[in-house]
Each structure stands twice: as C-alpha cells, then as structure tokens.
C-alpha cells in the first residue's frame, strides 16, 4: 500500500471574535479566557455561511496548492460534527459545488477526530479510488450561542474548514501508518444532539485526551520504529493550547515541535488539524517524519505518521 499527502488547504471566516468581546457575554475576563485555553481570538462565520461553503473554499485552496484538477478527484470524504443530522450530509453539497458528478462522496459525522479518521480511510482507499480529497468543515459558533454564553464552551470554539489531498501517486509526504480508536462509554461527555447547545464535561475530556493522544502517537511511532524525538513536527487537533503543551510534555519533546495556531482560531473541531497542517506546510518546514493526532467526541482518537517522500 502506498499513500501520499500532496497538499493541504484551509478557509477561515473573516469575522474575528476577540476574548474582549466574549468577556462581555461570559462574565470572564479576557485574561482568564487566554489563561484557561491559550486562545486569544477565533473566527465566527456569518449566519448565511454554510458548512458546505467553507468546505468548498478549503477544498479549492488545497487543489490550487496541489495544482490538481478538480475533475480528477476519485473520492471525497467530508468530516463535520456540526453538520446537519439530516440527510444528505454536506459531502453531497460540496461534491456538487466542486462539479463532481459521479465520484463517491462520503460523510463522516464526527467532530474533532473526523479529519484524522478521514486521512486514515483515504490512506487505505486511495489505491482503489485514486486521488481522494479529505475535507473537514465546522460551524461551531451556533452550537455555543446560548444566552448567557457558557464560558466552558463559548471561549473555545471557532468556525473554519481544512482539506488535504491523498493519493497513491508519489507526493510530498508518504503516509506510513495510522492507529484509530473509539471508546463509546464516554459518548455523553462531549455531545451535540443536532440542535441547541453542545455539552462538554471538560474534566473527563481533558483527562482522557491527555492520556490517549500521547499513547496513540507512541503506538503508531513504535510500529514504525520511530521515536517522538525523531519527529519533525506534530500536527495535532487544536483543542486547547494547554492540552498541546501537555501532549508535548508526555512525549518528552519540546513544545516548539507541536505546531499551534489555536491562539488565533480557537478549536475548530475536525477542521483544526488540517488548518494547522496548511499553515505549517506553508512555513517551508524541515523534512522528516510528521505526526497527526486528534481526540474528540465519541470518544474517538488516534494518530497517523508520515515522512518526507524525497
């Protein structure tokens, strides 16, 4: 099996929501919000902006970076935990807007870990379906828009979309391995029922995530005879800066190896890992192994390792 990551793309809404703005509606100071999350600002989409529209923008950004024609896509995988629970999901709308007339388009109705699961599935399916576009698009702001705002959730989440092109054709990074896991006994600790506000038991989420993300990273690295110290960059779900720091500490690597942009975009759920990858890839990064990892509602979690192909 050969699978390669060719390019990433992202889209973020224009509207910046600062901690000062949320401070007025949550009763928490801007300093408290940053200290609890590391987040300084996030983006919220307009009410008219759809999950599909943001996903299309990220997809087009990715395909432009890859220099790859849209009509050659063999499969579309779309992760979105905030998407409608009705059918069809956003994959059909994104496929239509990309003018994909017959390529299969699959929805992964998963939140934070959705893009990781999408990449891992694409890794396995690319030999059959050719070039696979993985898109993750989330509109989290309506899920937190209660009155008054719940400071435990409203300060964290933002809107945005990310995308990645996976192919069996040789590309920039060769995907080596992936490990995916689910433990459904915690499904009520982070949940959204399709309407109203999301629910989050922060204590359980952080306690489980701080153990399971490093464990899955070590699992996949060990299978490839790699150590965390050999990894060039960790591209993780941007849940909370404090969690990213803890994952680095658990892996015994410096925090500079863990790419972070949660400060500017907040937690964009499944989109965050691909938005982070897009920005990281644009920094002309050093060659070497890279690790993706995510943890989210379900609980679903896991890790994927790739290495520079040349």
């Amino acid at each position: 099996m050969s699978a390669y990551l060719h390019a990433f793309g992202a889209h973020l809404p224009e509207r910046i929501v600062t901690n000062a703005e949320l401070s007025e509606r949550t009763g928490k100071t801007a300093e408290w919000i940053e200290s609890a999350s590391g987040i300084q600002e996030r983006r919220w989409a307009t009410p008219e902006t759809s999950i599909a529209a943001m996903g299309v923008a990220a997809a087009e950004s990715c395909l432009k970076t890859a220099g790859f024609p849209t009509n050659k896509i063999g499969m579309l995988i779309v992760a979105s935990g905030s998407g409608s629970r009705g059918f069809p999901g956003p994959a059909a709308a994104i496929a239509d807007r990309l003018c994909l007339l017959s390529a299969p388009a699959i929805d992964l109705p998963m939140a934070s870990a959705g893009s990781l699961f999408g990449l891992a599935l694409a890794m396995r399916l690319t030999e059959t379906y050719g070039d696979i576009l993985v898109v993750a698009s989330e509109k989290m702001s309506p899920l937190c828009d209660t009155e008054p705002l719940d400071p435990n959730t409203a300060i964290l989440f933002g809107d945005g979309a990310g995308a990645a092109l996976v192919s069996s054709r040789p590309g920039r990074w060769r995907i080596l391995d992936a490990a995916l896991h689910t433990d459904g006994q915690y499904r009520e600790d982070l949940a959204f029922d399709g309407s109203g506000a999301l629910r989050m038991n922060g204590l359980t989420v952080i306690l489980q995530a701080s153990r399971k993300m490093p464990a899955s990273i070590e699992e996949v690295l060990a299978r490839q005879n790699l150590t965390a110290q050999q990894v060039t960059a960790f591209l993780l779900h941007q849940a909370n800066l404090n969690l990213l720091t803890r994952v680095a500490k658990a892996l015994n690597v410096g925090p500079e190896k863990v790419f972070a942009n949660v400060q500017r975009y907040g937690n964009t759920s499944s989109a965050s890992m691909l938005i982070a990858a897009t920005e990281w890839a644009g920094t002309n990064p050093a060659k070497g192994p890279i690790v993706f990892s995510a943890f989210g509602a379900g609980f679903h979690w896991g890790a994927l390792v790739a290495d520079s192909a040349d």
Partner: protein
C-alpha cells in the same frame, strides 16, 4: 477503610499540583472548590501513580474517582 497516613501523602500531592492546601474536610470536592481545574487533574493522577507506584488504567480515568481526598484514598485502598 480511611488511611490517615495515605491521606497525608495525598494532601501533599494536591499541594504540589495545585499550589494550595487541600480543604480540611476530606469529603470536599477539589473541583467544585476551585482548587483543581481540568488541566491540573491529569497532573494529579500522574503524581498519584508515581507516589504510590501504581498505574491508573484509562478505564479508571473518571474525575469522580479523584474528586476529593476521601475518594482518592478509597480508590487507592481498592487498588494497592
């Protein structure tokens, strides 16, 4: 069976992780009192593992088990 010596060791760990003393009432919630937050909890569990030479399995990573000195003491009584 409460173990006063073990409870003292737990109080020392809470002090190290939270930077403040645990409440005198061993039943009082460390989270509701604001002594520990979600990011201090993983550190406390790691400190307990090291201090008492045990491994807390993921299936036991329930905040309720570590919510007070009394609950941590009860957990350790069952697992040591």
């Amino acid at each position: 069976m409460p173990d006063l010596s073990r409870q003292q060791r737990l109080r020392k760990l809470v002090q190290e992780v939270a930077g403040k003393s645990a409440p005198e009432d061993e039943q009082e919630s460390l989270f509701e009192s604001g002594l520990l937050d979600s990011f201090a909890l993983p550190d406390l569990v790691s400190a307990i593992e090291k201090e008492f030479a045990i491994k807390v399995p993921d299936s036991d990573l329930n905040p309720r088990k570590f919510d007070s000195i009394a609950r941590m003491d009860a957990y350790l009584a069952d697992h040591m």
